[in-house]
């Protein structure tokens, strides 16, 4: 059984006003325990609406969301519990920091969850901080004295501290420099390896998605356009371009090669694959029509 399943999710913003906009037009998908899913799609494709439905922040106009086989809206009064199971880190999460110390801010989620035992809470906070790559010494500082990247990681720790089964991150690297970005992606990768949690990463950066995701969900105009392994999705470079999305630069190189008439496999999306693919192409004359990795 899939961990999360959605059936024909539909949602309209501003119903009955002149600004009415259909954000989701029937999204059906299933996500398994422990998967690392990349979510791509341009602004307005419905991806943000979709992720806010997975933790019950938005209620679908039609359709259902199942978590562990249970309809999350079966008991609307208990929807808050779903938010502890499905942790959602919004874009620019540092703007939600409010406590006097980083420690207290990270403790906000677990306290809301009902954890009152001091030692238990302490252990949770410290572990979450470690997953987010925050040094112990930062915990007693004011969150507003941290650097941009540290603030971002403190905010992510605040969601990890709820110990959710699913962690959703909406563009966690937006606006950061390459160093800050790599740091966060590495922490997320480590977190997922050590906890075995399911992770959904929404990103505009195809290079990031290519580096980290097992499967890629492509949203377009409120529909699920593609949902397949990273390799198969990035093989569809032209299809992605049609819906206004790019492919990683290495994939572009292979698409260009193919355009020039070279016989190469275009399902290449990491630097390692690209190196192997090009070498085999260049040696092609010996190895007889060799195609990529």
């Amino acid at each position: 059984m899939a961990l999360i399943e959605t059936q024909d999710l539909r949602f309209v913003y501003g119903k009955g006003t002149p600004f009415e906009k259909e954000a989701l037009k029937g999204a059906t998908l299933a996500i398994n325990q422990g998967e690392f899913i990349g979510v791509i799609g341009h602004t307005g494709s419905g991806k943000s609406t979709l992720v806010q439905m997975l933790n019950g922040l938005l209620k679908p106009d039609a359709g259902k969301v199942f978590l562990n086989g249970t309809d999350i809206w079966a008991k609307p009064k208990e929807i808050r519990k779903v938010r502890f199971e499905v942790g959602l880190v919004f874009q620019y999460p540092e703007y939600q920091l409010f406590e006097e110390t980083v420690y207290k801010d990270i403790a906000f989620g677990p306290t809301n969850k009902g954890i009152t035992d001091k030692d238990e809470l302490d252990a949770i906070v410290r572990r979450a901080a470690e997953f987010a790559g925050l040094k112990e010494s930062l915990l007693e500082k004011s969150p507003f004295d941290l650097s941009g990247g540290e603030k971002r990681r403190a905010a992510i720790a605040g969601v990890i501290a709820m110990e959710p089964k699913v962690l959703i991150l909406d563009e966690p690297t937006a606006g950061l420099d390459p160093k800050g970005r790599d740091r966060i992606l590495n922490q997320i990768r480590k977190y997922r390896e050590q906890t075995g949690s399911t992770v959904l990463l929404v990103s505009h950066s195809m290079e990031d998605i290519a580096r980290i995701a097992d499967r890629v969900l492509v949203m377009n105009h409120g529909n699920v356009e593609m949902f397949d392994t990273t390799e198969k999705v990035f093989q569809q470079g032209e299809h992605l371009a049609e819906i206004g999305l790019k492919v990683p630069q290495v994939t572009q190189i292979f698409l260009e090669l193919k355009k020039l008439g070279a016989d190469v496999d275009t399902g290449v999306y990491t630097m390692e694959q690209a190196k192997a693919g090009v070498l085999s192409y260049l040696r092609g004359s010996e190895t007889e029509g060799g195609s990529g990795a």
Binding site: H42, T43, S147, G148, G149, A174, G175, L176, D177, P178, K179, G180, D182, H204, E207, G244, L245, K246, P248, Q249, V250, Q252, I253, F254, L255, E256, L257, K259, L260, G261, A262, M271, A274, K275, V278, L279, Y281, L282, R283, G284, S285, E286
Partner: protein, 303 residues
């Protein structure tokens, strides 16, 4: 992209930073924080310069010196010969060097697009009829003329940023400094802004200083300057700078994937592949040609 490679010294210098030092005074009484240690650079008329560096390298601080938002604690900055430390010249300096910031929301003042674009010229005391012409021209230049009566908060990020750019163009500056203008935008917004910048440097002939983390954006510039720990680490054409992969890694900047691939191939013995390709197209062509040559003369096989 064409690289005009403006390197000749005969072009008029528009902005000259001479041995600029800057320190932030600390609020808690500790040692003041040194941000810039003797940065010197000349920006020439019509040039497109990209400033790169990781967060905290001092690149934004440097940019803020170019139109007197910050004043050097040592050294000086001259804008068209005017010293930015001279209070009397402040308005003249800021109308010469405009500035566009990261967050498009926080630089729009008015509730209607055209009123916002008019804000700068109004402050400069331009007569009303002439403001109208300037506003219309500026909005057309950024492709937002149809939205002139719209409310800014209803626009997309890329559109807001283009309105912000129009607001600066309407002041008729000679140079515009962009401080990470695309950092908060989605790919579509980024593209819109970059196309607008291309237009500024192209047909409008405005000097542009662009601060960015994105290598593909910096690759469009005539010259790239890398700032690290408050001083200039290196500068040159994008090809010259980006082909120094190890240096880029050391200062935590992205290495363009095509460059990385090409250098790998070069190191593997395919020495006919140039080490300084920047774009996927260039890279693919180089690889394709290398293979064609080998097919023609198989005995020269590398690797």
């Amino acid at each position: 992209m064409e690289h005009t490679n403006i390197t000749s010294d005969n072009l008029e210098i528009q902005i000259s930073a001479q041995d600029v030092y800057f320190e932030y005074e600390s609020t808690d009484g500790s040692e003041p924080k040194q941000v810039l240690h003797g940065v010197s650079m000349d920006i020439r008329k019509g040039e497109f310069v990209a400033l790169l560096g990781h967060n905290g390298s001092g690149k934004s601080t440097m940019a803020k010196h170019l139109n007197a938002i910050l004043l050097p604690s040592g050294g000086k900055v001259l804008v068209g010969g005017m010293d930015t430390a001279d209070d009397e010249l402040l308005t003249e300096i800021r109308r010469t060097v405009g500035m566009v910031f990261q967050n498009p929301d926080n630089q729009l003042v008015a509730t209607i697009v055209e009123e916002d674009v008019a804000f700068g010229p109004e402050n400069l005391g331009v007569p009303s009829a002439k403001i109208r012409t300037r506003v219309d021209e500026a909005l057309k230049a950024v492709g937002m003329y149809e939205y002139r009566r719209h409310a800014p908060h209803k626009l997309s990020g890329g559109q807001k940023q283009r309105v912000a750019i129009a607001g600066i163009i309407a002041m008729r500056p000679k140079c515009i400094v962009f401080d990470e203008p695309t950092a908060m935008l989605d790919p579509r917004g980024r593209q819109e802004v970059m196309e607008t910048i291309d237009k500024l440097t192209g047909e409008l002939g405005i000097t542009v200083v662009l601060i960015t983390h994105y290598m593909d954006e910096a690759a469009r510039a005539d010259r790239v300057i890398i700032i690290n720990d408050g001083s200039i680490l290196t500068e040159g054409t994008p090809k010259e700078v980006f082909s120094q992969i190890d240096m880029l890694r050391k200062v935590h900047l992205d290495v363009p994937q095509p460059t990385e691939l090409a250098q790998y191939l070069y190191d593997m013995g395919y020495t006919d592949i140039p080490r300084d390709v920047l774009t996927p197209e260039e890279c693919a062509r180089a690889i394709y040609e290398a293979r064609q040559q080998r097919e023609a003369a198989p005995q020269q096989n590398g690797g």
